[in-house]
């Protein structure tokens, strides 16, 4: 089983059409990876699907970088376990 960080990066790569090697934890979706606002919405949808969770809009808006996505998922999975 891949860890959360790898799974998040894989999704980011797929959704934004960037090479996984270019994705750093501190990468901002919009500023570094070229996402537009609709891409970020889709990214959250993809994360919800991968990790089988619902991310409320007010939380989704705060997920603007790879690390923030990893942190959210980690917290969410921890609270579910």
């Amino acid at each position: 089983m891949e860890n959360i960080e790898q799974r998040v990066k894989k999704i980011v790569a797929e959704q934004l059409g960037v090479n996984e090697a270019e994705i750093k934890n501190e990468s901002s979706f919009v500023d570094d990876l070229g996402a537009d606002s609709l891409d970020t919405v889709e990214l959250v949808m993809a994360l919800e699907e991968e990790f089988e969770c619902e991310i409320p809009d007010e939380e989704a808006e705060k997920i603007t970088s790879v690390q923030q996505a990893i942190d959210y998922v980690t917290r969410h999975l921890a609270s579910k376990a």
Binding site: D36, L38, V41, E42, M45
Partner: protein
């Protein structure tokens, strides 16, 4: 075999008038169609019409202003048929009155059904369409939204509002291959126009270059076009079906 084979269409307000014609025309073009009505008897009537015409689909009860009920309907369609690929926002009401006499609730009822619900319905199908990287949202507006009409400040406001919203959505969703267009009927022969007196009818026909009222199936044909592969490059547009009474 039809141009809409494999498509899943959702048509609001499909129990009579223009919506009924749209639902049947989409079905005859090959789409699976779910038509909504506000009453059980309306939904049953849709189901009957589908069965009689050999159309795959279902009549369902939905009050489009009941935002909480929408996700369940969309979810059921997804489960039973697949992701909605064509949404036709047709449901509409009138509460005509001169502005001086118009009550707040007359204003609000028309805005809630004819404008707000078009947004809520569209938002509800967007997720599936974005994932599918394709979709068609077709909003039924009105010539009245372009020209105005005395006694219909609420209706004209709602219809013009939908036209503006459609252009915004067309810009938002274009990159995902989702098109958003309007069909704006003029005066169509329905229960509503049948209620007009002879004098009013003659005055009306004088405004229409084609010299007659339109038929609901002529509106439906425009909707089928916008849903079809041939309209893939049309978005943010309004297709006027009005016999020439408004041109621009």
């Amino acid at each position: 075999m039809g141009v809409l084979d494999g498509q899943i269409a959702l048509v609001t307000g499909a129990s009579r008038g223009i919506g009924r014609s749209i639902a049947l025309a989409l079905g005859q073009a090959g789409a699976t169609v779910v038509g909504t009505a506000t009453s059980e008897s309306g939904a049953a009537g849709i189901q009957q019409a589908f069965d009689a015409a050999g159309i795959k689909g279902r009549g369902v009860v939905l009050d489009v202003t009941d935002a909480a009920a929408i996700p369940a309907v969309i979810g059921a369609i997804e489960k039973d048929f697949g992701t909605v690929s064509v949404l036709v926002n047709n449901a509409g009401i009138t509460r005509d009155n001169l502005a001086m006499r118009m009550k707040d609730d007359e204003w609000q009822a028309v805005i809630d059904t004819n404008l707000k619900a078009v947004f809520t319905m569209s938002r509800a199908v967007m997720k599936g369409m974005m994932k599918a990287r394709s979709g068609r949202i077709i909003n039924i507006t009105s010539v009245v939204g372009e020209t105005g009409n005395p006694g219909q400040a609420n209706y004209a406001a709602a219809k013009a509002g939908v036209a503006g919203m459609s252009m915004a959505l067309a810009r938002e969703l274009g990159s995902r291959n989702i098109t958003v267009n309007c069909v704006a009927p003029g005066f169509i022969a329905t229960d509503m126009t049948e209620a007009l007196g002879d004098a009013a009818r003659d005055a009306l026909l004088g405004q229409i270059p084609l010299g007659r009222l339109g038929h609901a199936d002529e509106v439906a044909a425009a909707v089928v076009f916008l849903a079809s592969p041939g309209a893939a490059y049309v978005t943010g547009s309004t297709l006027h079906v009005n016999g020439g009474m408004f041109m621009h």
